[in-house]
Amino acid sequence: MALEKITSVSGQGVYVPGDDIDTDRIIPARFMKCVTFDGLGKYLFYDVRYDSDNNLTQHALNDPRFSKASIMLSGMNFGCGSSREHAPQSLHRAGYRAVIAGNFAEIFFGNAINLGIPCVALQQSERNSLAEIIESTPDTEIKIDLVQREIIANDTRFTFEIREGARESLLNGKWDPIDELLSKAEDIQKVASSLSYS
């Protein structure tokens, strides 16, 4: 099955401030008691979106101005902690198609790219400017252009960073590697039988 070539992502943004937002925060462990990923979208950031009496909090994801957002902006080391793919899965199922942050924890980054969610890195000062645009004019359409490595919001352009291999796999529609991996069955067998352990 050919995958979609992801050359850009456009949509409204939402700003979730903070560094070191871990995957336990993105999706608390108790919602991982499931045998499929279906329905995880509603538990995204659950413990910061609801208070102990189950009332909605002031969290940005509860703000109706950002209810249509599909691009999340956050701080440094986004997605650290647990390797749970439940985290990018819940982002995706809640409608998020890209994440902009200072940088990303490695396992999260790999998991997200595998699902076709570009994760792009911006400098602090540019994140601040972008956050200001999102907060002051929530309707602004933000475009993440993977070809030009640019984020465009109104008249402002920011150059972002993303690991080249990841960018290419998104651009070429190869972000899910399974078909390519499967096609190398013979080479795999060769290496497997060369190992000193079985």
Binding site: G18, D19, D20, D22, D24, R25, P28, A29, R30, M32, K33, C34, V35, T36, F37, D47, V48, S52, M76, N77, C80, G81, S82, S83, R84, E85, H86, P88, Q89, N103, A105, E106, I107, G110, N111, N114, L115, R163, G165, E168, S169, N172, K174, D176, P177, I178, E180, L181, L182, K184, A185, D187, I188, V191, A192, S194, L195, S196, Y197, S198
Partner: protein, 469 residues
Amino acid sequence: MSKHNLFQKVWKSHEVGTLENGQTQLLVGRHLIHEVTSPQAFGMLREKNLAVRYPERTFATVDHIVPTDEASEPYSDPLADAMIKELRKNCDETGVTFFDVSSGKQGIVHVVGPEQGLTQPGMTIACGDSHTSTHGAFGAIAFGVGTSQVRDLLATQTLALSPLKVRRIEVNGKLSPGVYAKDVILHIIRKLGVNGGTGFAYEYAGEVFDNFSMEERMTACNMSIEGGARVGYVNPDQKTFEYLKGRPYSPNESEWDSAVENWKSMASDPGCVYDDVVYFEASEISPTVTWGINPAQAISVEENIPEPEHLTGSEATSTIEALEYMKLDAGAPIKGTPVDVAFIGSCTNGRLSDLEEVATRLNGKKVKEGVKAIVVPGSQIVSQMAEEKGLDQIFKDAGFEWRNAGCSMCLAMNPDKLIGDQLCASSSNRNFKGRQGSPTGRTMLMSPLMVAAAALKGEIADSREIFPS
């Protein structure tokens, strides 16, 4: 001949080829799975009509959701019950070996692998779990993966990966009494930061790691991921080989000598090049406690809680956020912070030596009234060995609950949870907001002996004062 480090050698020997996007297709010789991150992967295989290609290379156990105080199924939590049954079914259908609860070998996946001799030097090991770095203690390249990659592994035994840089971390000198592997790794993370290791494999070395037992090396490697490093390892040595001798999945007598030769050849060559080298002095490390909401927010038990006024930028902001969540006073001594719960267990510190270290020093002392203290062995085998030594009785006499093996309160996917804003002295590895099951629950990470000290005193205490040697 050019010189290489262990990471490069192991990587090279498992390379299948280069993918179109420039990544390496890497063969993973051992694949470990558990009930939380594998069912969706088996589902994806079914959807794509794919088989498990090398079922003999995958091993399963159940750890996260198992209750530690009820032994029989069905479990009272229907979701947990569905998860264990799903794993059992997936293993049955595909021929994957499953260390089920009835096998006597069940436990936390990172305790079970080494215990069974599945974890060996020179291997590539992956598991849908970030603490897979634990297995690096044996000189394996071991890392956590997501569920789509669990699918890739089941279907092809390979992954698409980019190589890591290698940072050698040397800890030299001698640790003072009362300072443990847990303190060493918390100290390293405190100094290098929670994302200091991004893009790196950590090679731990120096006298301290040379002198560590295998279990201590596992404790340190376990938390590599807490410093942002996906992989952490120690070069294999005589201790590694001795540990592995005679384990169920270790090479047998006739293969042993050649296996050891091969393992030795995998160690980093003297004089090889690293991308970075960092040095620490053992004498600078004290019993360490976290005060915040990430594992780098740690201080020595003798220090005071940081004051945001003395910090700048994002460090100040994150300190304010952490102190607010932890309900701690800036500038106050960390010692004396009241605790509600004490948890000894997890893949960081739930092994026999951890339990022994505490039990042999309890000496008739009692858990402070009002503190809930639980001990959860990392595996059924740890539990059995501990019981043979009578440790369970010592713990129970001191007022600890003695539980069945599992992850338990490390992340509270089973019934063991904090309630409200309880504060837990914990021997586990993560102090994230809500980690131990209550959205407002508070976690302070420390060594098992420091947890015991907190349990006896009812507050954060210096284990060296509570248990003078």
